[in-house]
């Protein structure tokens, strides 16, 4: 195990003997890295996704979630404002919110009934003046000194982000103009939540960060489209990053290539087969809904969010870390509040594609786990990332791992690992 201090202090540069990029495997398993991430990333200089305004539309609505491993509460207060607070009583540290979501007039700790308003301000302490002159709080006790720890919160088109940092810049600065524009493209009007899905993956959260920045694996690991002769290799797409390479956006436009051309391109790929046909292709029936013709978008936002549009499925996927060897992935599927009933039905049926049972997403959990199993005792051995040239550069195609390298360069910078 590495001492946490040595990661930032005396850390050696990661090896780079050739044109590929190399990640030492202990970054996925070493608790010292994990501890540093909790402090420097999740409690540090970053904006983490905590929820959608549509999840807490009414006064008194709340949800509980976590940033990294830190439990937080998101509330809608009496002024209509959104508040994000640590889910930890200021008295002796108990969880205030023990439900995933609900509606309440106040936040009350069950342990000693300390009561807070929806902004997290302490409003009542039982037996504050004691009972019949006995007990009670000291004279210098002030309610206002014992509020819940409030995080900075910002909202972008209905998406709620929070930060433990008092020094970080605005959310829009953190996201960068391209990500802001892409969020505004998807969250262009009021949404309707269709439901949540939760999935526990026995692997390090950064393996999923790599996975969602990796267009190379899409047609190779996820064989649903190729098996049923549906994948179109010549679909055009790009792999783009913000200036800091924190975030990435992969997108593709609907394809026009022929099955014959695909047979040639996929001749070395297992399971490419034009002979299987879907008995009921209605699962793929959809409607064009964006004027730009883009049919697939995977935005990976550092540190804990993916926003996706796959055909007519729209979802956010939030990563909640659980030690170095596991994380929970929370999918919130949505449509638009003005969807007609047919569009709503399309989205619900296409949801077969995504989530823990999704035709084109179930394998991502498996991919993370088979890496975690293989590297659990490695120290000093590295992965090799070079598809597309081995540099963190934007690509006008999807045969690249460049955004993974971008992720790691930013990660090293945040953790203070020498370049």
């Amino acid at each position: 195990m590495t001492d946490p201090e040595t990661i930032v202090g005396d850390a050696k540069p990661w090896p780079s003997p050739d044109s590929g990029f190399r990640v030492p495997y202990e970054v996925f398993t070493d608790p010292a890295y994990y501890e540093r991430e909790q402090e420097s990333i999740f409690r540090g200089e970053s904006w983490s996704f905590v929820g959608l305004e549509a999840e807490i539309p009414n006064t008194g609505d709340f949800k509980s979630t976590s940033i990294g491993e830190m439990p937080v509460i998101v509330t809608r207060d009496n002024d209509g404002a959104v508040n994000v607070m640590q889910n930890r009583c200021a008295h002796r540290g108990a969880l205030i919110c023990r439900e995933r979501r609900g509606n309440t007039k106040r936040l009350q700790c069950v342990y000693h009934q300390w009561a807070y308003n929806l902004k997290g301000q302490l409003k009542g302490v039982p037996f504050r003046a004691g009972i019949e002159g006995k007990g009670g709080m000291p004279d210098d006790f002030e309610l206002a000194d014992h509020n819940l720890n409030k995080l900075r919160a910002e909202i972008l088109n209905g998406m709620i982000f929070a930060s433990f940092s008092n020094t970080i810049g605005t959310l829009e600065e953190f996201l960068g103009p391209m990500m802001v524009a892409s969020i505004k493209r998807i969250f262009n009007r009021p949404i309707e939540v269709l439901g949540d899905q939760r999935q526990y993956i026995h692997g390090n959260w950064k393996l999923y960060a790599e996975n969602t920045r990796d267009p190379y694996h899409a047609s190779l690991l996820h064989l649903f489209h190729t098996t049923f002769g549906l994948y179109r290799s010549s679909q055009t797409g790009e792999c783009l990053m913000d200036d800091h390479h924190r975030h990435s956006m992969l997108y593709a436009k609907a394809a026009s290539s022929s099955a014959a051309a695909d047979s040639e391109i996929f001749k070395d790929v297992r399971s490419y087969d034009e002979n299987f046909k879907l008995a009921d292709p209605s699962v793929l029936a959809g409607r064009p809904e964006f004027d730009d013709g883009i049919t697939l978008v995977i935005m990976s936002l550092f540190p804990n969010l993916v926003i996706q549009q796959i055909a007519n499925t729209l979802a956010v996927r939030q990563t909640v870390t659980d030690g170095p060897n596991g994380f929970e992935l929370v999918w919130t599927h949505f449509g638009y509040a003005d969807d007609d009933s047919e569009m709503r039905a399309i989205r619900i049926k296409q949801s077969n594609l995504i989530g823990p049972a999704g035709y084109v997403s179930m394998e991502d959990g498996e991919a993370v786990e088979i890496v975690q199993k293989a590297v659990r005792r490695e120290r000093g051995q590295t992965s090799y990332i070079a598809m597309g040239g081995g540099k963190a550069e934007d690509a006008a195609h999807l045969v690249t791992e460049s955004a993974i390298i971008g992720f790691w360069e930013n990660y090293k910078s945040v953790l203070g690992i020498p370049a």
Partner: protein, 162 residues
């Protein structure tokens, strides 16, 4: 067959046998036969209690035709990548909640244990079957099978039907 004319004890027996055959078909990995337990017009839905209890429509798996059931099996066999595993379904005694001429509604609780490649058996899913069963050529079939699961933090992935 008019289901309402059958003795209730006989109907109970037939429904429970259908459920036993259904879960053993899955657990014995005879998935190609699994769609045959459904009527030609059918709905099969696996949804989290977290969503159904809020009236939200999202399902993990949602099939509204027998063809979609077949596609799930073909995809599992030919396309999807996952660790080999073994299920064991345990189904509670069944309550018949509604009997009409055309159909019988039944509610059962289930648990599924899953054994992964490392030999460890874990409780993978607990929930409820809400079934609507019809008679097709004197055989009982599912016209509607709703699997409402409590275990909403799905461990790794869900590919084999419940």
């Amino acid at each position: 067959m008019d289901l309402s004319t059958l003795a209730e004890s006989h109907l109970q027996f037939r429904v429970e046998r259908l459920l036993a055959e259904y879960v053993q078909c899955i657990d014995d990995d005879r998935l190609e036969a699994w769609p045959d337990y459904f009527a030609a017009e059918c709905v099969y839905k696996i949804a989290a209690l977290e969503n159904t209890s809020r009236g939200l429509p999202l399902a993990a798996i949602f099939c509204d035709s027998k063809g979609m059931l077949v596609d799930r099996v073909v995809s599992l066999r030919k396309a999807n990548i996952f660790e080999r595993h073994q299920y064991r379904h345990i189904v509670s005694s069944t309550l018949l909640t509604d009997i009409s001429r055309a159909s019988v509604s039944a509610r059962s609780h289930y648990v599924v244990y899953r054994t992964r490649g490392n030999g460890v058996t874990e409780l993978f899913s607990a929930g409820v079957y809400e079934d609507k069963i019809v008679s097709v050529d004197s055989e009982l079939k599912f016209a509607e099978k709703l699997v409402i699961y409590d275990t909403d933090r799905v461990d790794t992935l869900l590919v084999t039907p419940l």
